[in-house]
């Protein structure tokens, strides 16, 4: 689904990613973890074609970025740590707008369906501005899956959520992933990442330093490895 080879991204003179290789097979749920500033968000922004790579090859479902980004964006669903929603519109209007941008068919039905998945049906006609952070994030996930994307990218989805809201989000993430979609999530929360993902990749020094499949290590070992890789 995702194939990244030798990816380099520099902001000005400062390299963030230095020859990164990264593969994700179809149906996998991969969590990319790493300390702040390691380049997790940068990696995701390149995968979403919001940033262009300085060097290296990036393919999504066989489509080369940034050249074929238009086609790639169709199969991508993105949930960022910002909600990407309009505060002065209701949930219904927000989803309707993005549905039209993506050309979703049977939009009314799909909006109802998505709202019930993210458990926001009761707030359908309320302004997004008045939502709590957790509700905004749930609606943002609704926006991300609205057009039935094959590949979902979550950028620090737990940012700014209280523990209850974060647990609810986890349920949602698992449900979304179980529908057979490929998911890539960045996080700085190692524990959550380890519980959710089928594979945890540790990003350090601008590269994927380690890649751990679920069940390979227990939580303590994973934590220790993480600190060894990122601190050492």
């Amino acid at each position: 689904m995702i194939e990244v080879r030798g990816l380099v991204k520099a902001f000005g003179v400062k390299p963030v990613l230095r020859g990164l290789d990264f593969q994700v097979a179809e149906g996998e749920f991969v969590a990319v973890v790493g300390p702040n500033g390691a380049g997790k968000t940068t990696l995701l922004r390149i995968l979403t074609s919001m940033a262009r790579p300085t060097m290296g090859e990036v393919r999504i479902a066989g489509l080369q970025l940034p050249r074929q980004s238009g086609a790639a964006r169709k199969i991508l669903g993105v949930v960022s740590h910002q909600p990407l929603l309009y505060g002065d519109l209701t949930a219904d209007q927000n989803l309707r707008f993005f549905g039209r941008m993506y050309g979703v068919s049977n939009l009314d039905d799909r909006i109802s369906e998505v709202l019930s998945i993210v458990r926001m049906s009761a707030r359908r006609y309320d302004l997004v501005r008045d939502y709590s952070r957790g509700m905004q994030q749930r609606l943002a996930i609704g926006r991300g899956i609205l057009h039935r994307p094959e590949l979902l990218l979550f950028d620090e989805p737990h940012t700014g959520l209280d523990p209850d809201a974060a647990d609810m989000l986890d349920d949602l993430l698992i449900r979304v992933a179980d529908e057979g979609r490929t998911v890539v999530m960045t996080s700085h929360d190692l524990t959550r990442a380890g519980e959710l993902a089928s594979r945890v990749d540790i990003l350090s020094g601008g590269k994927i330093a380690r890649s751990i499949k679920r069940g390979e290590l227990d939580r303590g070992e994973l934590n220790q490895l993480y600190y060894e890789v990122t601190r050492g």
């Binding site: 902001f11 000005g12 003179v13 400062k14």
Partner: protein, 233 residues
């Protein structure tokens, strides 16, 4: 940074030589103008400065286009360097024109199309520099600079045309709308030679300054780079 390369040293030498010669031609070789007197001597460098301004902004627009196509930062360095020099010489052009106008048209300022266009051009490129100042990410700065450099350059001829039509329709209150009408003079061959030579000299001055300014930009980026490294250590 290494010392100036040999070609730049040679160019600098030529430019200084040309400049000394140009001063000689403007002050001694060219005759005193029969009507306006000495102040007409300002004309040679006045026009040459305007020429440098126009060339500089053209170079900025082209360098901006090349940057957007190739994404090589060196083109952006050319673009900023050229704007800076263009702003300096456009200012010289306007100020010297104003000084020339005072004894000839009896006013420091006339709403002549060329003068107004030059002034708006100056404002455009001051805005360009302010835009760049407001952006921290160097790649974005380069991209926005390139776009604005092109937009600004495209707007200049339209501005000129609009002011030209404006002047011809409107009654002219002070002086003449067109300096060719009043304050015009027949150039003697020596004047023409001094004029052409000034244009050549200022083109060389532009090229030399551009080269030095590009090197300055590169050095500044190197320093930034080093500072980044220091901070990450």
């Amino acid at each position: 940074m290494e010392a100036a390369p040999r070609n730049l040293k040679i160019l600098t030498g030529i430019t200084i030589g040309l400049f000394v010669l140009a001063l000689y031609m403007v002050f001694i070789y060219a005759p005193r103008e029969a009507v306006m007197g000495d102040v007409q001597r300002v004309f040679y460098f006045h026009v040459a400065s305007g020429w440098v301004g126009a060339v500089a902004f053209l170079v900025t627009a082209i360098a901006g286009g090349v940057y957007l196509a190739k994404r090589d930062r060196k083109w952006d360095r050319v673009a900023v360097a050229s704007v800076e020099i263009g702003v300096v010489f456009t200012f010289i052009n306007i100020a010297s024109g104003s000084i020339w106008a005072r004894p000839i048209w009896n006013t420091w300022w006339t709403w002549d199309p060329r003068l107004v266009t030059a002034t708006i051009m100056l404002l455009l490129y001051v805005a360009y520099l302010m835009l760049r100042q407001g952006i921290d990410d160097p790649d974005r700065r380069a991209r926005f600079g390139s776009v604005y450099g092109i937009v600004a350059f495209v707007s200049v001829p339209i501005t000129f045309v609009s002011i030209r039509i404006f002047r011809t329709i409107h009654p002219v209150i002070i002086g003449s709308g067109d300096p060719a009408a009043e304050g015009a003079f027949d150039m003697t061959p020596r004047m023409l030679q001094a004029f052409m030579f000034s244009l050549l000299t200022f083109t060389f001055i532009y090229a030399t300054l551009l080269w030095y300014r590009i090197r300055l930009g590169r050095l500044s980026e190197e320093v930034e780079e080093r500072k980044m490294e220091m901070m990450s250590v």
